[in-house]
């Protein structure tokens, strides 16, 4: 089980993010939960391309026959991080609009039905 420790960290981050989205009633806390969920998914992507005892895939000043980590998962994680920043900017601007219209950030004062 110690050999799978990064994967258990990914599961922990996803569970914490899902708990915050489901059970908190403040809009900013829900947005923080979405960001934690996305950090967990990015961590999962980059732990898939590691080989034991490898170095970064840079050829400057390194011997050319060293064992190197895989570069393709790192490139896809870069794309995922930028898309996460874009979605976060859109969510925050909509929250600013909602706050100016209703005057409160609590979910019970925003909707129409009561539960």
């Amino acid at each position: 089980m110690i050999a799978n420790l990064p994967y258990l960290a990914v599961a922990g981050l996803i569970i914490i993010g899902l708990y915050t989205i489901l059970f908190k009633k403040n809009l900013i806390k829900i947005i923080i939960g979405i960001t934690i969920l996305e950090s967990g998914v990015n961590l999962f992507l980059i732990t898939l391309g590691y080989r034991m005892g490898s170095i970064a895939p840079i050829f400057t000043g390194n011997p050319s026959d060293a064992v190197m980590a895989y570069p393709v998962p790192q490139a896809l994680t870069l794309t995922s991080i930028v898309i996460g920043v874009a979605v976060l900017a859109l969510m925050l601007s909509l929250v600013i609009h909602l706050y100016r219209h209703h005057g409160s950030l609590h979910l019970s004062k925003l909707g129409g039905d009561d539960q």
Binding site: S64, A89, I96
Partner: protein, 156 residues
Amino acid sequence: MKGMSTIVKTIANISFPLITIYGLYVIAHGHLTPGGGFQGGAIVATGLVMLIVAHGSDWMEEHIKEHDLSIFESLGALGFIGLAFLGILMGGVFFSNFLVDTTMLFGGIPVDGAANINTGGTLPLMNFAVGLKVIAGLFAIVLVMALATSKKEEHL
């Protein structure tokens, strides 16, 4: 929002060129060291946001309009697409690296692990285009949000 005290403004004015030079170094050496267009663009945008925090968004609105930022971002996007289409004209496929192994601008192949900036083909040019796009985009997002939360608007 209002600005901060004189000490903060002076230190921000001193460190802004250093942050910009460091960010441009990370963009320009993207094909030799870890870094590239997106990472260096985020560094320069952070320096610009530090200027907003130190001087206040009212001062910033007098000096930079959002209309100028959209010109920079469109230039970056058009440069990236233009390089991709130029690959069809000169190489045959979309996105082909037509400058490597020639005697033109960035042609050259690194020998035996030594770092030479005259290598890489179209990669440094694409790094500059994407870096310009990221700088203008991230700075425009933060500037628009700072302006919107500071004015005393009446009810929508």
